[in-house]
Symmetry: C2
Subunit: 323 residues, 2 copies
């Protein structure tokens, strides 16, 4: 017999407070080394916005253990734990992605963190795995957003969207995706989740994977061939990850081949789920990136290509000292 | 309390009979389309060995649904089911690999097959997923081996090894790996399993994944970068797939970067398991390929770089009619 709550959608996650000018934010890497020059530029952008970035050792390691890893697993996990437990740190904006987040999770000590007040974490790509773990282990909402090291012609757009969501979340609840097209019409409510397709599949079978039941699922990818997209979506299907998903937002699939071919694979592998779905939302790699909050109750309207958050993605910032 | 048999190694799987001259063998694809000219050459090689290849529709489909898929899922699954259930077919030698095996498994109807006499299946690469499923769903041993479409300077060597194992299994129990080096010394007994690293990880979380506990695990790969090897091995670690593995045979890692870097990643990600391990066994993509039986009790001697099967990988062929 199916237990009575087996099909109940998950509740929204605990929302951390917004950031405000003067807040100290941790900049660290759970993944690959951050290029120094780009890091310096991104730090200045955070400072221009009034934030006070605190640079952790993993953000400046040049690949001391292996070329694609910032520091060793212990350093990255210690930086993350320190940022989450230090009461003087208001949030975490990841330095960069790359590879190594699952190694960091393997080394991570979560003990005691779930009892602390939530703080915001912002990143994407390889960081998908950490946001997923934070949702599952701590029950915290977070942001799929650009990171300190970013590039591209539209990076001002991407940073502006991230900073609005981080610092003025009450203005970030109505999200329009002008480039998106519906692959399956209709509207659906659910709690947002997801991120990079490779990372979502690379956590399947582990204790940090968090199935999509009841959720509005974001998937995006970069530089993966058609048959790999197909294989990953097939693994999500076969593993039960997609069972009961409420709606799907397919973001950017940059460098993944012809858009028509990508769209055909998305429609064929996900269409059978019978839920509202849009493609080409501007979330993810390769261009102008609208921050996508994770763990927030939302309504996807596929026909209008909009995502309406039912509440602001972050709580109001506490009153400034002496404010 | 740990149940008393939680750490008992798995039993060897049911061994199918060897093939003999005159046997009809199914040639089909569960994956990508097979190039026609190479298929024809491979079929002739099987005929030279005295076998009678029966070509199924999936082996000649040119990508009618999608360029990287032989036929559609239903065709591939129907071909596989037909070959396994037809009493006039003695075994299956897969036409080619590529991509699509997990889709085939999703469409596959296993009903009733487990009650039939086992027959041998031979293939590798994408077919890893099917051999894993056959082991888990049916309890049958099989062969990681070249396929009908193969190429390379050493293909005569690879085919000769496969045909010896298929037709004279009693002569295929002492396997030496002349190019291999021990990464961790010692000897271990277990039941063989494994195959292509991407495919083993791509089945994690699904009902056809079969953990390595008690096993001698073969892993090999082609054309994957260092950080991807790392991520896949990390997923095998984090998912519990490697818990209780008895020994590891790392095969070829062709096009995966500098051998020293590959070896370092294998040693670092797998060394902590504390089991005998060799690298560069000639099993897998990229050259001369010794057939690796799956599901057979074996002893790995890492110092000597040998794998000794404790029994022949296939049962003796039944007496020929009128023989």
């Amino acid at each position: 017999m199916t237990p009575p709550d087996a099909h109940r959608p998950p509740a929204a996650l605990a929302r951390p407070p917004a950031l405000r000018a003067g807040d100290r934010v941790a900049v660290l890497s759970v993944s690959s080394p951050a290029p120094a020059a780009q890091l310096a530029i991104g730090l200045d952008v955070l400072r221009f916005a009034g934030l006070d970035p605190v640079v952790y050792p993993s953000a400046t390691d040049r690949g001391s253990m292996r070329r694609y890893l910032a520091g060793d697993d212990r350093m990255r996990a210690a930086d993350l734990r320190s940022a989450l437990t230090d009461p003087g740190i208001a949030g975490v904006i990841f330095a960069t992605g790359g590879s190594g987040a699952q190694r960091t999770l393997e080394a991570m000590d979560w003990d005691g963190i779930a009892g602390l007040p939530p703080k915001v974490l912002a990143g994407y790509s390889d960081v998908t795995a950490v946001l997923e773990a934070v949702a599952g282990k701590l029950g915290w909402a977070s942001l799929l957003s650009p990171m300190v090291v970013s590039s591209g012609a539209a990076i001002h757009y991407s940073f502006a969207s991230m900073l609005r969501t981080l610092m003025h979340p009450e203005r970030a609840t109505e999200i329009r995706y002008p480039a998106a097209t519906p692959l399956a019409g209709g509207a659906a409510r659910g709690v947002t989740l997801g991120g990079n397709l490779t990372l979502l599949t690379s956590s399947l079978g582990t204790d940090t994977s968090r199935p999509a039941r009841g959720g509005i699922l974001l998937v995006e990818e970069e530089n993966e061939q058609d048959y790999r997209l197909d294989r990953m979506l097939t693994q999500l299907r076969r593993s039960g990850y997609l069972d009961g998903v409420a709606g799907i937002v397919a973001g950017t699939f940059t460098g993944c081949g012809e858009p028509a071919a990508v769209e055909e694979i998305l429609a064929e592998r996900l269409g059978g789920l019978g839920v509202p779905m849009i493609a080409w939302a501007n979330v993810g790699h390769g261009g102008y990136f609208q921050t996508f909050p994770v763990g927030v109750a939302a309504e996807l309207d596929a026909d209008a290509a909009t995502l309406r958050l039912l509440e602001p993605p972050l709580l109001p910032a506490p009153e400034a000292l002496g404010g």
